[in-house]
């Protein structure tokens, strides 16, 4: 454990001591551009997920609104699929199942993992030992393979995918958070709070959690993209949202059959997935840059 001798708070989170404009100028110029780009992409995707009709007035399920396997035109921006459905509408409507599952997995896996990490790190002792061996066990196995088998056994559907991926998702959060707690709980301000008689939950909420958000944010923004890639992977294999839902992974899989005649069916679902993963990681980087303190980082 590193001793903190240099001062009381050399790297406190600057959440409290900095205004937004100040933080904004702290991020570099290219970081700001990427951040804006990322925010715009995410905003569009979220609108698509919440109210797809706003972006795509056409129905994603209406058959033969155009020719079967029609190339992109002014009327059908992304072409039509083998049943003449408007492919733009299908991709837009695919945002809801794809993004809902990804966000839920990170939320459930992240919250549970954080809780386990907080308890293990804060309580310590045999409980810490048991919990962390369990975490090690999970992290030493190929998560995607386990999730795939679990989702298959639970039956096709979005619920199975969310449950299966959440179960393999939490251990990495538990390990991350536990590491931070172990470091933080020996900081002076935490020891002071405990000496003053603050209860465990109070210390966790007031003196430990606020110092974690920078790292958690970095992980969450990366994971939102990674979760989508996993969701789409399971969708590609036929698990997850079922037809006629146009989840991006399954959309891509059915497009592959027409690779020689309908390139747009393979290209656009993949672009949607990649745009999302790139955008969330850009926003994550941007926020990290903004919360970076002048002395060189509020990271632990």
């Amino acid at each position: 454990m590193k001793e903190n001798l240099s001062g009381i708070e050399p790297d406190s989170p600057d959440v409290h001591d900095s205004t937004i404009p100040k933080r904004w100028s702290r991020a570099g110029r290219s970081e700001r551009t990427l951040l804006i780009f990322g925010v715009i992409v995410i905003a569009v995707f979220v609108i698509a997920a919440v109210d797809p009709h706003l972006l795509a007035p056409q129905s994603p399920d209406a058959l033969y609104v155009g020719p079967p396997l029609g190339a992109p035109t002014a009327q059908h921006w992304l072409g039509t699929d083998e049943l003449g459905r408007d492919f733009y509408a299908r991709v837009v409507y695919g945002a809801r199942p794809s993004l809902t599952m990804s966000v839920l997995i990170v939320a459930i896996g992240g919250a549970f993992g954080m809780a386990v990490g907080l308890i293990a790190g804060f309580v310590g002792g045999w409980l810490d030992g048991v919990l962390m061996r369990f975490v090690d066990l999970f992290l030493a196995l190929p998560g995607f393979v386990l999730a795939l088998a679990l989702a298959a056994v639970l039956g096709r559907g979005e619920r199975s995918v969310v449950i299966a991926l959440s179960i393999v998702w939490w251990p990495s959060y538990a390990r991350l958070v536990r590491g931070m707690v172990l470091e933080l709980k020996h900081r002076l301000h935490v020891e002071a709070a405990r000496a003053l008689g603050a209860s465990g939950p109070h210390v966790i909420v007031k003196d430990i959690l606020p110092f974690m958000w920078t790292q958690i944010n970095a992980r969450v923004s990366q994971d939102l993209g990674y979760a989508l890639v996993n969701v789409a992977g399971l969708g590609f294999l036929g698990l997850g949202a079922q037809p006629p839902a146009s989840e991006w992974g399954s959309l891509l899989e059915s497009g592959l059959q027409y690779i020689a005649t309908g390139w747009w069916l393979t290209l656009f679902p993949g672009i949607a997935i990649t745009l999302w993963t790139v955008a969330v990681s850009m926003v994550g980087d941007g926020i990290s840059a903004m919360t970076r303190s002048e002395q060189g980082g509020s990271r632990l």
């Binding site: 992974g249 993949g270 993963t277």
Partner: protein, 338 residues
């Protein structure tokens, strides 16, 4: 060193046990009777009943689990409902193409990651930065199955340079099945035309797997080489008049590659996870495609068998990577032994 060896091996055995427990639990989570699943959906009621008794499903769970593990150790993995063969028989057929694909991809990947990593560490400039950045975007942002599909779109559908998938052209009679590896079988049969065809069919799947991983290995090698280059022995070697090439290959890489090896173990796990997706895109007849087909019909016996197999291989490969790490780095041996 001995103590570490024992502890590390015990951990691997614990992991294998956990995997068997996991698939056992899954087998019982499946709605319906495990005997029906393992006998295959087309089995007659008498067969199901016989299997019910044979599996000991009338016995308490711990006894059932014991029988399950014994069956696993005897490589009795149940019946596929679709192919109506024992899963073990199917795996014998589907495993060689996967091994061929994975081994080839990994070999090329390691060579590329190490040479490019060492090159970019010594040639810091616009070009190497651009290569790394492009690789990172491809490797981290694009799902591997889309990368595979894009390669297929460009090199098969658009340019027509390479075949769509499979091991051979549809009209081609496969060579006699000796090893199951397309390159070795065609070479053994002396059918060099087919050998070249097999190479053609391997290019895109191998490229997809290599490109998906390349950035990670390249950056890790680069970071490690940069660190080693700071060491005094490099200056000594330079002072002695060694060429840069000799310093890199004889001195630096030997030390720099140690951390890369454990990364390779982890990446191997990723590949095992994603191989089903790549094989499906290219119609490569390996266990990944077998898994995909089994998932389409929710044929549980092969799904669970492949889960077991890939997880077990992952555990063993990581064990070997850790042990290799010890062999290659004597400093660790002393430290672990203390």
């Amino acid at each position: 060193m001995g103590w570490y060896l024992i502890r590390r091996t015990a951990w691997a055995i614990l992991l294998l046990w956990f995997i068997s427990l996991f698939t056992f639990i899954l087998l019982h989570l499946i709605p319906g009777n495990p005997a029906i699943i393992l006998a295959g959906l087309n089995a007659k009621p008498q067969e199901v009943h016989a299997l019910y008794i044979q599996l000991g499903l009338n016995k308490p769970l711990p006894v059932q689990y014991y029988k399950y593990v014994v069956d696993l150790l005897r490589l009795n993995l149940g019946m596929s409902a679709v192919t109506r063969d024992p899963v073990t028989t199917d795996l014998e057929r589907y495993l060689p193409p996967t091994i061929e694909l994975v081994v080839l991809s990994f070999t090329i990947y390691v060579i590329l990651a190490v040479t490019l990593g060492a090159w970019s560490a010594t040639h810091k400039g616009r070009l190497s930065e651009a290569v790394i950045r492009l690789g990172s975007v491809v490797g981290s942002g694009m799902p591997v199955f889309w990368l595979a599909a894009l390669l297929q779109l460009v090199f098969f559908a658009h340019l027509g340079w390479l075949p769509e998938g499979g091991q051979y052209d549809i009209s081609t009679q496969a060579p006699p099945d000796v090893t199951g590896f397309s390159l070795i079988d065609t070479a053994l049969a002396g059918q060099w035309g087919k050998f070249l065809q097999a190479v053609d069919h391997l290019v895109l799947p191998v490229a997809a797997i290599v490109l998906a991983m390349l950035a990670v290995g390249l950056r890790s090698t680069r970071a490690s080489v940069l660190q080693e280059l700071q060491r005094p022995y490099v200056r000594t070697a330079k002072a002695k008049g060694d060429t840069e090439f000799r310093i890199m290959t004889v001195h630096v890489l030997k030390n720099a590659l140690n951390p890369v090896i454990s990364l390779l173990g982890v990446q191997f796990g990723y590949v095992l996870g994603w191989i089903a997706l790549v094989e499906t895109v290219f119609g490569w007849p390996g266990i990944g495609l077998y898994l995909f087909n089994s998932l389409q019909s929710l044929d549980y016996a092969p799904i669970l068998a492949i889960t077991l197999l890939t997880s077990a291989v992952f555990v063993v490969v990581n064990l070997l990577a850790d042990l290799m790490y010890l062999v290659l780095d004597p400093r660790l041996r002393d430290r672990q032994g203390a």
